[in-house]
Amino acid sequence: MTVGPTAFMALAGVLFCIGLFGALTKKSAVMVLMSLELMTNAVNLNLVAISRFMTPASMAGQFAAAFNIVVAAAEIGLGLALVLALYRLRKTVELDRIDRLKG
């Protein structure tokens, strides 16, 4: 028994939505960043899977996923640096305490 691209897409969708849920709910900035990583991973999985089944010879999706990993690594590095800076400034990483945008 084997599975095709649809199963991978569904898996990626589930992972993405779990990450989205976490990013929308978690009050801790670190947890939000971790959820974002989960979403990125879901996207990477999707890219690789679709590339594997649609354009197996050119590996286009693998390259896209590789660069996505680069961007995600940069993002998490900057994000965590921001969290640290925020922590120094406000002594908290709780997103619901950070409401400077309040209108």
Binding site: L20, L24, V32, L95, D96, D99, R100, L101, K102, G103
Partner: protein, 658 residues
């Protein structure tokens, strides 16, 4: 291909300077000057390539295809023709002079590197604008110039006035630019091209389409060239550094509107006849308003700013009369003498540490070079033979006279009056600043600032004699000025100067007494014909009111409705209490409390928490997806209704959750 280098050199200078540190940028402040000098040399070469001119066809063109839009190719390109060659020379000569002058003027400013970088970007945009071979590229560089203007007006952004002035300039010109963009869209939908040759020569325009497009272009030109009623930004723009005012807000950028209309003049001819009359009317009213307001200003830069508005109005008069040659010649002469005046004003402001002409005086003895060059500019602006202003003004007056319609003759009268007014206020400034009691502090400036002024003064003195050659170069046969019109024009100038000398040198009239005796007129001119006040009361206040209403709705109105409802309910319930006591009362309080809680919840939507906004964003995305998916099945109205319901439901839950 070397022509591309003309705008590219200053652009490269800007690109090199942007990533630098503040100190490195200050060290590299000569870089834009070097780039502009290169552009100047290349502009001379371009001029030589165009010589002897006369033909309308470009001597060089290049274009690159961007994409195809609706089946028609969309390309941007550059072209070199006589008009461009002349404009290139004007921009580069004034630009180099201003750059040299700025090196001396700005040398104490800590952020001068940024100033020079933006000046370079501005020069690049202006050169690209005059080299543009289509309206799209022109519009692009037009907007870049607007950005530079904004940056330079607000250069000293730590002060309040420049910051406000820069925003005002940006917003006011934006009003015109919206018209410009609409005009461009209309142009594309009708002609399927932006290219000058295609749009202006190869397209058979219907009157309606041409009217629409030309009115759009005119709106953009009116914003950029500070025509009534969009002139209000230019006097405030004087908050920027004086050399920047000289280059941008006197010589080049504000003239871009004139250049645009001059370029598109065939389109205006194809439009309904009243469009050109309207252009003339705009020009006449602008020149009158600018001239009158220039007479009553005490700030030397404001005098020059209103004078610029007035002279730009003059150019629009020429355009309205259908003569782009007269308009462009006045543009050229004005660029030289007005930038000269601004540079002189900068020296004077530096020397006296004030901008108020009432606090100046006697500079003629201590600052001979500045006085001499400034007087050259003042005489040219007043239209005194043989200075350049005389020739170009005479051109415009003669154009009006030969057109011979009743409105052109009426405009001629206005133009003559404005000429007299111009001579009058320049006399006023000259006497107030240079004559009288000597100001002990003032000292002559350094050579590096005198030389650019002297160069501009030299050009101002002789360029008028090029009038027939200029017309010939642009492809129009014109002789020397008509003696009768020259005498009439000179009489107007002489009258203005005479009245000025009589009032300010001999004290013929006590101006303060005049102000006292006509309080209403004084109030009108002091408030600049109430343009600013009208905008503030009308538009700004309306927007402020709207914003206030929305803010109240956000924070308190919902609460207010809730409380009001609760209070109304409880009031009525108190009346009913006598009938059935606590049953109704309880229900009422329940409803009131419910609605009040809903209001409190709604308030949290603006809580400033990033995840709340994130959720709303995703809810909106979902609503859009729903819309996109469902539209083919159940139609636009039903799908948008469903999407709205979904959005409201999710939004309500978001609010609850937050």
């Amino acid at each position: 291909m070397w022509i591309v280098l003309i705008p590219l050199l200053p652009a490269l200078a800007f690109a090199v300077m942007v990533p630098m540190s503040r100190r490195a940028r200050t060290a590299a402040r000569w870089l834009p000057l070097a780039a502009m000098s290169g552009s100047l040399l290349l502009s001379f070469a371009a001029f030589a390539k165009t010589w002897p001119g006369g033909a309308q066809e470009p001597v060089w063109r290049a274009s690159t295809l961007l994409t195809t839009l609706g089946g028609a190719p969309l390309s941007v390109g550059m072209r070199l023709d006589p008009v461009t060659a002349v404009m290139l020379l004007v921009v580069t000569v004034v630009g180099v002079c201003v750059q040299v002058y700025s090196l001396g003027y700005m040398h104490r400013d800590a952020r001068q590197g940024w100033y020079f970088a933006v000046l370079a970007l501005f020069s690049a945009a202006m050169l690209l604008l005059v080299l543009a071979g289509d309206f799209l590229l022109l519009y692009m560089s037009w907007e870049v110039m607007g950005l530079c203007s904004y940056l330079l007006i607000g250069f000293w952004h730590e002060q309040d006035a420049p910051r406000r002035a820069s925003i005002k300039a940006f917003l006011t010109t934006r009003v015109g630019d919206v018209g410009f963009a609409i005009g461009l869209a209309a142009m594309w939908s009708y002609a399927h091209s932006f290219d000058f040759t295609v749009v202006l020569q190869n397209t058979a325009w219907t009157v309606g389409a041409a009217t629409l497009v030309s009115l759009g272009l005119l709106a953009g030109a009116m914003g950029k060239s500070a025509q009534v009623p969009l002139h209000v930004w230019l006097p405030d723009a004087m908050a920027g550094p004086t050399p920047a005012s000289a280059l941008i807000h006197a010589a080049t950028m504000v003239a871009a509107g004139v250049y645009l209309v001059a370029r598109a003049l065939p389109l205006f001819h194809a439009a309904a006849p009243w469009v050109l009359v309207f252009v003339m009317f705009v020009g006449a009213s602008t020149s009158a308003v600018g001239g009158i307001l220039a007479m009553v200003q005490y700030d030397i830069k404001k005098v020059l700013a209103y004078s610029t508005i007035s002279q730009l109005g003059y150019m629009f008069i020429a355009l309205g009369a259908g003569s782009e040659v007269a308009a462009l010649f006045h543009l050229t002469t004005h660029a030289f003498f007005k930038s000269l005046l601004f540079l002189g004003a900068g020296v004077i402001i530096h020397a006296t540490h004030t901008q108020d002409i009432r606090e100046m005086g006697g500079l003629g003895k201590t600052m001979p070079w500045t006085t001499g060059t400034f007087l050259f500019g003042a005489l040219a602006l007043s239209g005194v033979f043989p200075f350049s202003g005389f020739w170009s003004k005479d051109d415009i007056l003669m154009t009006l006279w030969t057109q011979g319609t009743w409105y052109s003759l009426a405009t001629l009268v206005v133009a003559l009056v404005v000429a007299a007014i111009t001579a009058f206020y320049m006399t006023r400034v000259a006497i107030r600043v240079f004559a009288g009691r000597a100001c002990s502090l003032a000292r002559e400036t350094h050579l590096d600032m005198i030389v650019p002024m002297a160069v501009l003064a030299g050009i101002t003195a002789v360029i008028g004699f090029a009038s027939p050659a200029f017309a010939g170069f642009l492809g129009e046969v014109k002789g020397w000025p008509d003696l009768g019109m020259a005498i009439v024009g000179s009489l107007a100038a002489t009258a203005g100067i005479g009245v000025g000398v009589w009032i300010y040198a001999f004290g013929g009239v006590d101006t303060q007494e005049l102000r006292r005796r006509f309080p209403r007129v004084t109030a009108v001119v002091d408030n600049g014909f109430y343009f600013d006040l009208t905008y503030n009361r009308g538009l700004v206040a309306a927007f402020g009111w709207l914003a206030g209403v929305l803010a109240r709705f956000d924070t308190s109105a919902i609460d207010g409705v809730v409380n009001g409802a609760a209070r109304a309910w409880s009031a009525s319930s108190r009346a009913m209490w006598e009938f059935d006591g606590s049953v109704v009362d309880g229900a009422v309080n329940g409803v009131g409390a419910l609605v009040k809680r809903a209001g409190d919840r709604m308030r949290t939507m603006q809580a400033g928490r990033v995840q709340g906004y994130q959720r709303l964003g995703y809810a909106g995305l979902l609503a859009m997806i729903t819309l996109a998916v469902l539209v083919p099945y159940i139609g636009v109205a039903a799908a948008s209704g469903l999407a709205l319901v979904a959005l409201i439901v999710v939004g309500a839950i978001v609010v609850r959750g937050a």
